[in-house]
């Protein structure tokens, strides 16, 4: 394992882990609310005392099931309190948590189980349990227990590996009575370089790789969350009075950091959305103060504002239109100044806030939001500009699993749209002189890929820097702009280097475009596969009295093709001639994780796209 980590000496009282931080909170603020979950229409609250008690029970339960130091525990579930409880319990007894996306299809579950060989597998309900039960016994040989928390549908299952969550906690209770100090002993023995989790990369190019993060990695990231307060407009770091809505998959490093690690680091309250479909409603109820979203969510919020605003009655629409105009002016002014108000924008905001913005933010659920962030993929600057315009302080940031998501972020007052911000102070970050690749070196750098020393070696330079695989460039010498993944750069047959992501993101700025993939490697000109956003395009078609039946039917309508042609032409105006998309085709189906076109994080898998829609692509070049 190539690592640049400065190892902390073992102290004997146990290294700081996410579990030990949680225990500290339970002692310091037992009655403070740590978690909230909506159940039967009511947000049920978990105090720190209760949360820690459950973590401890789960940890004893894991000990009773024979989890040893370094054994893997897999969690295959939607976001729910048990996710965090089991995660922290696993870390407490020096196990390794592995998160699976709830959307992972059987084939991926089988691969991941075979790769990380877990001892205990948490499958929240029948749907997830069915997947792991179907995994071939020889692959799943390591699994001794499959925990489930939703008993519905398990009535006539008789697999001896299955165990109900409540029984599991009871097992833990019995174990705690017999060995009250067992968990404390494990925690006291924790080492800084214990692997605490495997975070599987989404695998846009090959099979997912499990990035190993250690307790020291987590501690470093948590320290950055707490201590870098100047990124937040009011200068106050996350604290117990903050509210966070947890809705993105917890197995992804971004949500893990924004939810679990922020929770144990700063003690805010996590509120679990009921499901991804109810996020908008849950946001309105919770009105979080800190909000993280991936570009996809920001785009959807943005589109929903437009659609609902255009559906409003005449009088409301007048105000809405005024609000949009004001927001775009304010957004532009703020973008120019790095996030501060000018006299003009302040004046407009003073008028717009009581008339439109406050109500609009309340409907979006972001009225009390004091810090919002966008990350995990590139976002169109126009979208962020809109949210800045209506007064939501949103910042783009950048990081990846392999460096514990610590790389760059925009700081309040120095926000540059279109960039991912400045490197955190005191971390090693450089651009490779030849390729422009971003490389980092700091205590957050991961411990290597699980079982793949060759892959690990590939991502490390000879002098110990992590190669992120992202090409970036300096903006004004301080900020970094991401160009693209190094593997995605297109070299046309004319020998031009083109970054497809920029063009794709520009296409995706349109509320009608959901997916875009620019093609042109070794070709004469650029072309694109475009997936329409069924909601907005469907809405548009209804207004235009264009009848349609299915997604495919809709995307084959000449009017729709014409609509998208408009979007493409508009994009082409922004780019140089060689970067123009000359041809495009609409994808006849909605892309899906299950069908293999997208990764669990909704990123395009280019190779399978080319396989799937090869004919479509070829038709553009003949």
């Amino acid at each position: 394992m190539a690592t640049t980590l400065e190892k902390q000496p073992s102290t004997g009282v146990g290294s700081t882990t996410v579990a030990s931080l949680a225990r500290d909170w339970a002692q310091r603020a037992p009655n403070q609310i740590a978690l909230r979950e909506k159940d039967f229409g009511i947000w049920q609250e978990y105090s720190w005392e209760k949360t820690w008690d459950l973590i401890e029970l789960a940890a004893h339960g894991l000990l009773a099931l024979g989890i040893d130091v370094g054994d893997r525990v897999t969690i295959h579930a939607e976001d729910r309190p048990e996710w965090i409880i089991l995660d922290l319990a696993t870390v407490a007894i020096r196990g390794v948590t592995v998160g699976l996306y709830p959307t992972n299809p059987l084939a991926e579950v089988e691969y991941l189980v075979g790769d990380c060989t877990p001892k205990v597998f948490f499958a929240e309900d029948q749907e997830q349990a069915d997947k792991v039960l179907e995994v071939d016994r020889s692959v799943a040989a390591s699994i001794t227990k499959i925990l489930y928390v939703e008993p519905r549908g398990f009535g006539d299952y008789d697999d001896p590996r299955l165990m109900f969550w409540v029984d599991f906690l009871e097992l833990g209770r019995t174990h705690r009575e017999q060995n009250p100090a067992a968990v404390d002993q494990r925690m006291a023995a924790a080492e800084a370089d214990d692997i605490m989790t495997l975070v599987y990369t989404s695998g846009t190019t090959g099979p997912p790789k499990g990035a190993m993060l250690s307790n020291a990695n987590a501690a470093f990231a948590i320290d950055k969350i707490i201590s870098e307060t100047s990124r937040i407009p009011d200068g106050k770091g996350p604290n117990p009075s903050d509210l966070i809505v947890t809705y993105l998959p917890l197995c992804h490093v971004a949500e893990r950091i924004f939810s679990t690690w922020t929770l144990v680091g700063a003690g805010p309250t996590l509120n679990f959305a009921e499901s991804i479909d109810t996020v908008t409603a849950n946001l309105r109820e919770i009105q979080p103060t800190i909000f993280f979203a991936v570009p996809r969510i920001w785009e959807r919020l943005h589109a929903s504002v437009y659609i609902r605003g255009n559906d409003a009655t005449w009088f409301k629409k007048k105000f809405f239109d005024f609000g949009l105009k004001a927001a775009s002016i304010i957004g532009r002014e703020k973008a120019a100044t790095g996030g501060s108000h000018t006299f003009k924008s302040r004046l407009l905001y003073a008028i717009g806030q009581p008339l439109v913005f406050r109500a609009m933010k309340e409907r979006l659920g972001l009225r009390r939001c004091r810090y919002a962030a966008s990350g995990a993929a590139a976002v169109a600057p126009e979208v962020l500009e809109f949210f800045m315009g209506i007064g939501i302080p949103v910042f783009e940031l950048y990081g990846m699993t392999e460096n514990s998501a610590v790389a760059t972020c925009n700081f309040a007052g120095r926000n540059k749209l279109g960039t991912v911000g400045e490197p955190y102070p005191d971390i090693g970050l450089r651009l490779d002189e030849e390729t422009g690749e971003i490389q980092t070196k700091h205590p957050g750098n991961f411990q290597g890929y699980w079982n793949k020393p060759d892959k690990t070696a590939e991502t490390m330079t000879s002098d110990g820097w992590l190669m992120t695989g992202d090409v970036g460039e300096w903006v004004d010498g301080t900020h970094i702009k991401i160009i693209d993944r190094i593997k995605h750069i297109i070299i046309t047959s004319g020998g031009k280097n083109i970054s497809p992501s920029e063009i794709e993101n520009s296409l995706k700025t349109s509320i009608f475009v959901k997916e875009a993939m620019v093609i042109g490697d070794g070709r004469k000109f650029l072309s694109a596969l475009v997936g329409i956003e069924p909601e907005t395009v469907g809405d548009w078609a209804l207004r235009k009295n264009i009848p349609y039946t299915t997604y495919r039917d809709l995307s084959e309508k000449p009017e729709v093709i014409e609509l998208i042609q408009g979007v493409v032409s508009e994009t082409n105006e922004k780019f140089a001639r060689v970067e123009n998309v000359r041809e495009f085709r609409l994808i006849p189906k909605e892309l899906d994780h299950e069908d293999g076109e997208l990764t669990a994080t909704q990123k395009l898998k280019r190779s399978s796209m080319m396989e799937m829609f090869g004919d479509l692509v070829e038709s553009m070049y003949t």
Partner: protein, 418 residues
């Protein structure tokens, strides 16, 4: 959680009547104004409407509003919440009034009366009416909708007939004449001087209060109590069961709600309200008990109050009672004012709309008797109500309260429409 009105962390919090502080404050101010209204205060003089509503001329009408509100709150529980349309509400009020006068009135040669104080005869009136309701209720299990309405209509005629029998006249007074209603004075038992005298003008806490104002305070207190009770019934288990029966009785029973028991409960509670309202109607408003008062028209009037105000809600009956009772007076006052104006747009309007005894082409006749096709103000009021009931049933089944909900939702969704 401050500033997060939709974040419910317990069922108790979710079912609060007034979840936010601003609502609590607004209601508090409203109640204070109601309390101060009949008093001679500088502040109340400054608020439009309230300025004259507290006058002795208008107070009896306000008292009528309050009695109607109590009666309609009861009808709402039966017809609005449980969906059992009843035309027999006047009958249950009559039972209450007669019970009250039997318990609280003085006996004489041809009249029964026990002379008991108000704290016995007022609840007694309610209990007697509730018993009558419980006895009638099994009918509702067998009959629905229109048929139930017809059967309850029969009760009204039975009640008036009872008042006309010689046996019944011993309780309800001679047919067509009635008997004096019990006094509202509050006594401990049968002593001469009442504990609190509600019959004369007097001074309370340094304020001059007329007898009408005293009655007003008593009725206001009772209305608040009954409204809170109704609200609590609606938002708790009983109310949810009743609403389930209203929406689909068979489905409700399948879900484990005993239909029979809850229909009995609905009739019982509703009739209790009616009984108390009937007793108050005779004691505080008309001053006499007359069986013929509690006729079909009375029943229909409460249906009108309920529909115009908003069936199924607690605020509906209150708003509806105010509207139905006060509108005739407003129209009358307005017509009088219009009749006196000369010149200007209003004067022109008066010329066109009004007709005096000397003859004209206006549709509103200002004299007492109607000469021909023109109707006088009273008749126009009845036309107006008929019209309003039709309009509300077709366009806003939730009544005035529904209008309010629409307005509220309009702003709640700002700047969107959904």
């Amino acid at each position: 959680m401050y500033g997060r009105p939709n974040l419910y962390t317990s069922y108790k919090q979710e079912s609060q009547i007034l979840p936010t502080w601003s609502q609590k404050i607004v209601l508090g101010i409203f109640l204070l104004i109601l309390l101060a209204m009949p008093l001679d205060l500088w502040l109340t003089e400054q608020i439009p409407f309230v300025r004259f509503l507290g006058d002795n001329e208008w107070l009896p009408l306000i008292n009528k509003v309050l009695v109607f509100a109590i009666a309609t709150l009861g009808l709402n529980l039966l017809a609005g919440v449980a969906g059992q349309v009843s035309l027999g509400h006047a009958f249950f009020m009559g039972v209450g009034a007669v019970t009250a006068v039997f318990l609280g009135g003085q006996s004489s040669d041809n009249l029964h009366g026990l002379g008991l104080p108000i704290w016995i005869w007022l609840p007694g009136a309610g209990v007697a009416a509730a018993l009558a309701g419980v006895i009638v209720s099994p009918v509702a299990v067998r009959l629905r909708g229109l048929y139930l309405a017809i059967v309850t209509l029969g009760l009204v005629f039975l009640g008036i007939h009872f008042g006309n029998t010689t046996w019944g006249a011993k309780f309800a007074g001679a047919p067509g004449l009635g008997r004096k209603a019990p006094k509202l004075d509050i006594r401990l038992w049968k002593e001469e001087t009442p504990l609190i005298n509600l019959d004369d003008d007097g001074r309370w806490l340094g304020f001059d209060v007329s007898d009408k104002a005293k009655t007003y305070f008593l009725l206001l207190g009772l209305t608040v109590i009954f409204a809170v009770m109704a609200k609590n019934i609606i938002r708790t288990r009983t109310g949810r069961a009743l609403q389930a029966i209203r929406d689909r009785d068979i489905a409700a029973e399948v879900m484990g709600i005993p239909e029979f028991r809850y229909k009995v409960i609905a009739f019982g509670i509703s009739s209790f309200y009616a009984g108390v309202a009937g007793a108050l109607f005779s004691a505080a408003l008309s001053g006499q008990v007359l069986a013929a008062d509690f006729g079909l028209f009375f029943s229909v009037e409460f249906i009108a109050v309920l529909l115009i105000g908003g069936a199924g809600t607690t605020a509906g009956p209150l708003v509806g009672a105010f509207f139905v009772v006060m509108i005739p007076k407003f129209v009358e006052t307005f017509t009088k004012w219009l009749d006196k104006t000369e010149g200007g747009i209003t004067g022109k309007f008066a010329d066109v709309a009004l007709t005096g005894p000397e003859g004209d082409f206006g549709v509103i006749y200002t004299g007492v008797q109607t000469p021909g096709w023109q109707l006088n103000v009273f008749d126009w009021n009845i036309v107006l109500f008929g019209f309003l009931i039709i309009v509300f049933l077709i366009f806003e089944p939730l009544g005035l309260y529904g209008v309010w909900i629409r307005v509220r939702n309009y702003w709640k969704r700002w700047p969107f429409s959904y």
